[in-house]
């Protein structure tokens, strides 16, 4: 225990040097906390944007539907699937959907659109879209021959509330599917690609127009948290009502997103490692100097009987004390900056527009989490420990007589 106090006092024998070392560690820790919070915050934002708008946390589909969206690949009894899933904990919404491609003709313009048949009541539980209506109203139970479309699509088709759209497509059995719908509401989805190309109509109408015979293309499930979705997926797969069907999580529904996140993470880690190594070399000199200056002192201590091992431990304690204080400071500063920006956000300017296409707003909000707060500093701690080890391990190698004679 006394060794601890001696180590502490040794640290402050050369205040300037120790402070510089601590600042170096603090700087890298602070940066890591901030950057990791930033990265993880944006990942979560990107995932949530898509999940909350359209994909949901999980989807139950026919096998192979995700790879090739054929009209024939259906979930034959969505009612049974929903009933089975309702019993599982942690689920906040379940909704069946049908999807078909069709030509939509408005007053003089025609475009291809993705027609979605949704359950007006249930859809609110899995998607924020019903809340994104800007003009008119969302679909209600009992509605017939109406539809809601995206703002950008309405612009392209030159239509507004109350106008009619003719839909022409292919039904499940290969026959022609045709209908006329009146536009009841216009939404702003937030993801431009979605906004430009989708149209939602009541599931009952969709079923009739596209000859679905009560089947759906997917059953969308919303969980209360992103993290629990995986577990729920596993349980769901085992349910008998879901035999012969696939249960897909957001990673499979949006593989592009998952891989971009991985890519970003990998490149981030490489950069951070380089940074930490530079810092490590920077402070290596400090640790070395601390030993070489005191060679005589070590010589005397060993001459009076202190074991080299004890000295090594003391040196390591000194180094780790400096590092820990630096880390503590860094974590505090990093957390402070992160919290500040998590409230006010960081304005990305024009680049925000590019991200808006993916549903992220122009301001990015870093998010503090256990991982972002501690994983960076932990890495710094480990690397600094090894940096401190090298000089400390030279102590046992000191030859007593020479050490005593050192200046």
């Amino acid at each position: 225990m006394d060794d601890f106090f001696i180590a502490w006092r040794n640290v402050w024998r050369n205040p300037r040097r120790s402070i510089l070392t601590m600042l170096a560690v603090a700087f890298s820790a602070m940066l890591l906390v901030f950057m990791l919070s930033f990265q993880f915050g944006s990942y979560e934002d990107m995932i949530n944007a898509s999940v909350k708008l359209n994909t949901g946390h999980l989807q139950v589909q026919a096998n192979g539907y995700i790879d090739k969206k054929e009209m024939r690949k259906v979930v034959p009894d969505p009612g049974a699937v929903i009933a089975a899933l309702e019993k599982l904990p942690g689920i906040t919404g379940i909704s069946p959907r049908g999807e078909a491609f069709a030509l939509a003709s408005g007053a003089g313009r025609t475009r291809g659109v993705m027609v979605m048949g949704v359950d007006p009541d249930r859809e609110k539980g899995v998607s924020i879209l019903p809340g994104q209506i800007r003009k008119g109203e969302y679909l209600k139970k009992g509605d017939h021959n109406v539809a809601v479309i995206g703002t950008l699509l309405a612009q392209r088709l030159h239509v507004g509330i109350g106008d009619e759209l003719t839909l022409l497509g292919q039904a499940r059995d290969g026959s022609v599917a045709a209908t006329i719908v009146t536009i009841k509401g216009i939404y702003r989805a937030g993801i431009d690609a979605f906004d430009r190309s989708t149209l939602q109509m009541p599931f009952i109408d969709f079923d009739e127009v596209f000859a679905m015979e009560g089947a759906a293309h997917s059953v969308v499930v919303a969980a209360d948290r992103l993290r629990t979705a995986g577990r729920i997926g596993k349980t769901a797969r085992a349910l008998p009502a879901l035999a012969g069907l696939s249960v897909l999580g957001w990673e499979e529904l949006m593989p592009g997103l998952k891989q971009s996140i991985q890519m970003d993470l990998v490149s981030g880690i490489i950069m951070y490692l380089i940074l930490i190594i530079v810092v490590a070399f920077s402070i290596l000199n400090t640790f070395l100097m601390a030993i070489f200056e005191r060679t005589r002192e070590f010589g005397v201590l060993m001459a009076i009987g202190t074991r080299p091992g004890r000295l090594v431990r003391m040196m390591l304690t000194e180094s780790m004390l400096m590092t820990s204080m630096g880390l503590g400071l860094g974590i505090l500063l990093g957390a402070g900056i992160t919290l500040f920006f998590s409230v006010y956000g960081i304005d990305l300017g024009g680049a925000g527009e590019m991200l808006a296409e993916f549903g992220i707003e122009g301001r990015l909000y870093p998010r503090l989490s256990f991982i972002s707060l501690f994983s960076g500093p932990l890495l710094v701690l480990v690397i600094t420990f090894f940096t401190a080890l090298y000089p400390a391990l030279r102590i046992p190698g000191l030859k007593l007589v020479e050490a005593l004679r050192a200046v």
Binding site: R109, T110, Q262, A351, M354
Partner: protein, 411 residues
């Protein structure tokens, strides 16, 4: 003489010097290396976007962007091309195209596509389709109903070369036109989304089908030369716009067509320089500490020099020179290693196929080749040099201030 002294002073403690040199060298090398990789990625992104039929400069009807229908087309494109040809640099390629939304149908499937009426010969060296790997062949000049689609679309529709498809789109008079085509060829591109979206038909067939006479919806211009990501095309677009003021068209370069990407590129520059600063600060602590330690070790020496009459300012410069040498050697090694690394990598580049879908999402190429710009290189080195000297001032001042009396007492 002072230079010699400074140089020798550094090497009085080789281990210490080597350690800080390693910090500087790793820092500088990583700055340049990472910058080159990221720039390579950016260039790839820009190239992909430009290649993807955006071209370097595009001339369209002003309303086409918000309302991409054949109503908003360019009448008499041939004469327009004749007018602007003299304004363009030699080697520029000009093409007429018709781009419309449509739906492609087979007996089993249908899909939304963008129908592109082109003259295949003219597209060579102009856009990706001119040079894309092709199974089968393009349509010849007198082919009236040939179509070329992407491999991903072929698979999605479950069809084969030589089979028929039906294309539907909206004509100039507002009615839906539909026409049967035979698949002559299948192309491949960098991104499967491109393959699923663009289908190519002969320009004259598109004109007939959509009742467009001799019109086109756009005129695309591809300019010779690389490093397009850095070139400013606005003088050229302005001169073209001036020439065409009596026509209802708008001339845009790729930066105007893709403002989001443009902003992203600019943000990227800022990000890179901030990163440089960050790496430097990490190094900076080490540099200050090391030089400081070296100075304190030689306290007596400085005191003695002063006692012998050396003026403080010279001591200051001598110590600063030591810092300079540390920086110079570190930077030299760092630059060398970075350049060697980049050279080695410029053969094969970094393969991102493992992240293929993610890469597609952002429009980056699958293989990243490093790109070194003089700007990045210079900025990295200057940052380290100037900031390094700035932090070196502190120990140098300390050294110059030692008085003989206070130092003589030290060991």
């Amino acid at each position: 003489m002072y230079t010699q002294l400074a140089w020798r002073n550094i090497w009085r403690n080789p281990r210490r010097t080597l350690i800080i040199l390693t910090a500087i060298f790793i820092g500088v090398a990583s700055m340049i290396f990472l910058a080159s990789l990221m720039r390579g990625m950016m260039e790839g992104m820009v190239d992909n976007a430009i290649d993807n039929l955006t071209g370097h400069i595009r001339i369209r009807h002003p309303d086409f962007r918000n309302d991409p229908s054949v109503e908003n087309r360019i009448p008499d494109p041939d004469s327009l091309i004749k007018e602007i040809k003299p304004l363009l640099p030699g080697g520029a390629r000009i093409v007429e195209r018709i781009l419309v939304d449509g739906v492609i149908n087979t007996s089993r499937e249908n899909a939304g596509v963008i129908m592109v009426g082109i003259e295949p010969e003219k597209e060579k060296n102009c856009s990706f389709i001119g040079d894309a790997p092709l199974e089968g062949q393009f349509f010849s000049d007198d082919d009236k109903n040939g179509i070329v689609i992407g491999r991903a679309l072929l698979e999605k529709l479950g069809t084969r070369i030589n089979r028929k498809v039906v294309l539907m789109s909206q004509r100039a008079d507002g009615e839906i036109a539909s026409r049967a085509f035979r698949i002559r060829g299948v192309y491949r591109s960098q991104m499967s989304d491109t393959e699923k979206t663009f289908v190519f038909v002969p320009l004259h067939t598109a004109r007939k089908m959509l009742m467009l006479g001799e019109d086109a919806t756009e005129i695309g211009i591809t300019l010779p030369g690389d490093r397009m990501a850095d070139t400013d095309l606005s003088p050229l677009t302005e001169s073209l716009s001036e020439r065409l003021t009596d026509r209802v068209v708008v001339v845009e370069d790729w930066r105007q067509m893709l403002p989001a990407m443009n902003a992203y590129l600019e943000m990227f520059d800022a990000f890179l320089y901030i990163w440089y600063l960050v790496v430097f600060v990490a190094m900076g602590f080490g540099i200050v500490n090391t030089v400081l330690m070296a100075v304190y070790e030689r306290m007596r020496e400085f005191g003695l020099l002063k006692a012998l009459g050396m003026r403080p300012i010279r001591i200051f410069w001598m110590v600063l020179r030591e810092t300079l040498f540390l920086l110079a050697v570190g930077m030299g090694m760092g630059n060398l290693v970075a350049l060697v690394g980049i050279h080695l990598l410029s053969g094969t580049g970094i393969d991102l196929t493992a992240f293929a879908k993610g890469v597609e999402m952002w429009g980056i190429s699958r293989v990243i080749l490093p790109v070194v710009t003089a700007g990045d290189f210079l900025t990295a080195n200057l940052t380290v040099l100037i900031l390094g000297l700035v932090v070196g001032i502190y120990p140098a001042i300390k050294a110059a201030r030692f008085t003989p009396v206070e130092t003589m007492r030290h060991v």
